[in-house]
Symmetry: C2
Subunit: 541 residues, 2 copies
């Protein structure tokens, strides 16, 4: 409480300074309106704020201060990307491309097509799909016209796409950014803007065959990315529902209890139980019964077999259907040779509302993959993740009802899919790249057109143009008379393997001096043979 | 006016029905608040609405109606993408990939790296960069935290990136979606969410060399995409400014007069003049003087030479600097062999505030490239484009002051760049693909694992898994006992060239019957040699 009083005083001070330094002529109505609203908002709700919310208010005030000119009336920008987002520099892009290529190759190996959808949807399209997570959706401002929200995942837009185009069969992947107003923990790869790589199979098929392929895909991608050991947890919404019913949870609380159980990978059972009893209002003995199930040792087909004999669960039709399918799923997974990494785990819940059957999640199990919080994380300015969790890097499941929610006649299209959470993977790869200190090239330039003498700009441009015409990746420095040394340095820095050097003598002889940057060897090559020679030398490397 | 009264009555009716059919128990406070706000908004501002705004209000009302349940209390979705946006289906994605590959190859040939930035920026970052177009920026709702806007182009985020990371030299490309609340005309490739493909060169270099490379890049891309004949118009902000000054335009009106002149490709001079005199308040004789310049026949180096002799322009330092650079630019363009398509055109203005030097724009000149408006366009429901214009497909210029606007110490980083407006190009390519009726494959699957007999699902899955292990792109139907015919049909439809057929006999013999879908030839291949055989056959095609 003491802390809040301090914060309040600090805000008051900032605000008073802000007002004192104000040049009324420069402040438009809109700004005054905003500022007053902000102050009211602050005084009204300060006592209930979290550290992260306070950070956001501070950021907003600073931004406002910059807008109205600050103390000296100087226009100062807040030079940053929005909270929870980042730029990708050329090196990070090179890593990103590599990861995407691995994932896309896998999706294509499984015969998937690809689609794309807009970054925002009608707000209504997202309503009622995400349960308690809906509060994390970014809305657009009402500027006249439709009410819009940024997509929260790629699954709901996919379902909307299927219903809108009356598609009943498709196997597609979609790689795009999604948006969640969550607490970011960026060093651990948790962002507010992040990529998802989704693979989904829509259509009425025989049980568990497409589901098994999704798990096989997770297994392939996780193996190929070489991120260390991993495990894929599997469960089924029907088993969870049957279990909740058997334990005495009322029907209308299944989803919210699911959300609580979903937190078991981040907090101990005692805290989850506390939430179930105190926040969600279930009797303690109900919570205890749930606890007995969700704390069972994860297993395989034999655990499903054992639970089918469970006196309470065997009375639930939903649970029996789910357990029977889990058995069938494991039989296919054996054929796909991926059972080494897959476990049936009753504690896996996944919070999203739309799942109806099998659900799964891949986690990295190797110690040390989650980087320790940096000072930035720790003081909360970039958010806080709570206890360090071994990160989930992929997840998905079956959602047979979602497309029907969009179809005017409620026609169902059964779907199952998986989403690869790529940002955590990027973080790990970037750290690996930093440690290895291997030089990553960020361009593909084959040759720099250079000269050692003055007044040869025109000749350099002409030769460069000829090389471009021939499809050679060529650069030329944008200086009239660059020094040879700075031309060679540019090659060293960006890894360009060859330099084509022009001089008066070479021009008279109709040749170019072709220099290998690494070995420093030079050789005269006739203009007519230059393209072929460059191709030959750079195809070897 | 009559039309507005009708619309008002229609709104009233819809609204009354909405209220009558209302089930109060199902309506939360938020909805009631929104509805009242909407009604007030409607009654307040109806008389000033355009057709497009009315469409948007109707859409909003329908969306609201769906949200609160409509007449029958049924939950009906508005099944559409937001106004001015679209999905890409797999065929469109295939075309998109092809266009991107052409463009990216060109950027890489010129030695560019790539970066990425978030889809939204701090609102403040975009403020004051787009002149009169700022009203088209999408803002995000204030949900607590920073005030954000969707990026309007890739240039301002690039400048922010350079300043934030203190980068003074880079040649980079960036391909990503940008957002403008403009009037869409989707059949002509004008969207509210659209891709830009940007190439920019930042750094202090000798005059006009990077500028010439940007124009060469436009020339290469336009030629390689084979969209028909094109022209690249070039002008310079300093020439425009010098011309405005010479004609007696006050300094503080340069930018707004630029915006007016920029409309010359869409409307006749008389209308532009009207805007300059009536809306922007300049004397008629000033407008007439501007008119004399901007209606001059476009030319090349000789036009620059001629204007350097112009008694009024030659007195303006800015105009002389601009004209001298245009001459130098054309000399480099000659070396780059692109002067066949480039013209110096005094009527080219480009509306954006941040340009400081050379500006350019590429247009398609071939008749018939702009498809006629569809009924959807014509009735305004998808917006209206005004008179059909031969579309601009690329544009750019020099912006030496933009990075300095972000740098705390105002340090300048001179920049020049070009942006390819890819959506119009997609539209044209899609129409071409439809006309040619050539079948576009949307997957890369090499082989379908099939069987003609029952009860072989497990064997099919096992073989498919083996093929995936070997990196073969393989599919299997998700049915226990699919008919051979439907398996073959799937191959025909999606262009899969080979079928690997399993039967009891084949299993006993340790072979697979490999069938060529096109020729219907079948051949037994041993399991050990299957992978090699599939590779051999599909590498040929």
């Amino acid at each position: 409480m003491f802390f809040f009083i301090i914060m309040m005083a600090a805000f008051g001070l900032t605000y008073a300074r802000l007002c004192a330094g104000l040049n009324p002529a420069r402040v438009c109505d809109g700004l005054i309106g905003r500022r007053t609203g902000l102050l009211m908002h602050l005084t009204r709700s300060l006592s209930g704020m979290t550290i992260s919310q306070i950070d956001e208010e501070v950021a907003k005030l600073l931004q406002l201060k910059a807008q109205i000119g600050g103390d000296e009336g100087k226009h100062v920008f807040v030079l940053k990307t929005p909270k929870g987002t980042r730029d990708y520099n050329p090196k990070q892009m090179a890593i990103r491309e590599k990861v995407f290529n691995t994932i896309i190759s896998c999706f294509k190996r499984h015969g998937a097509e690809t689609i794309d959808t807009p970054v925002f949807e009608l707000k209504e399209t997202l309503t009622g799909k995400y349960g308690e997570d809906s509060k994390l959706i970014y809305d657009l401002k009402d500027q006249g016209g439709e009410l819009l929200s940024l997509r929260y995942d790629l699954t709901v837009p996919f379902a909307r796409y299927l219903a809108m185009n009356k598609i009943t069969n498709i196997k597609r992947y979609h790689i795009a950014k999604v948006y969640r107003r969550d607490n970011p923990a960026m060093t651990r790869g948790r962002y507010r803007e992040f990529y998802q790589c989704d693979f989904d199979i829509a259509g009425q098929y025989d049980a568990m065959i497409p589901d098994a392929e999704c798990l096989r895909i997770v297994h392939e991608i996780m193996s190929e990315l070489e991120l260390g050991d991993f495990r894929i947890k599997v469960n089924d919404r029907r088993i969870l529902d049957g279990m909740f019913a058997a334990c005495g949870v009322p029907d209308d609380k299944f989803r919210t209890i699911c959300s609580s159980v979903d937190k078991l990978d981040k907090m101990p059972w005692e805290e989850v139980k506390n939430e179930i009893v105190k926040e969600k209002g279930l009797p303690e003995e109900v919570a205890d019964q749930i606890g007995e199930y969700v704390r069972m040792q994860a297993g395989g087909m034999e655990l499903a077999e054992q639970l089918l004999q469970d006196p309470k669960l065997s009375k639930s039709k939903a649970a029996v259907a789910g357990l029977t399918d889990i058995k069938l799923l494991f039989s296919y997974l054996q054929l796909f040779k991926v059972t080494d990494k897959v476990v049936f785990d009753l504690s896996l819940a996944r919070g999203l509302d739309y799942y109806t059957g099998v659900i799964y999640e891949a986690i990295l199990t190797q110690a040390g993959v989650a980087p320790p919080p940096t000072p930035q994380d720790a003081n909360g300015s970039a958010g806080d993740d709570g206890p360090v969790s071994v990160g989930s890097v992929a997840g998905g499941g079956r959602y047979d009802g979602l497309v029907g929610m969009f179809d005017p006649k409620g026609r169902k299209v059964p779907c199952v899919g998986v989403s690869i959470g790529i940002e955590r993977i990027f973080s790990i790869m970037e750290q690996k790249a930093e440690v290895s200190a291997e030089k990553v090239r960020t361009t593909e330039t084959q040759v720099l057109v250079a000269s050692a003498q003055k007044n040869l700009l025109e000749e350099r441009l002409k030769l460069t143009s000829e090389l471009w015409d021939a499809g050679i990746k060529a650069e030329v420095l944008y200086k009239k008379n660059p020094k040879l040394l700075s031309q060679l340095q540019h090659c060293e820095e960006s890894g360009i393997p060859l330099v084509a050097i022009l001089g008066e003598q070479e021009l008279r002889d109709g040749v170019v001096k072709l220099r290998n940057v690494a070995s420093r060897e030079e050789m005269d090559v006739s203009r007519a043979e230059l393209v072929e020679e460059i191709r030959k030398r750079t195809s070897q490397s």
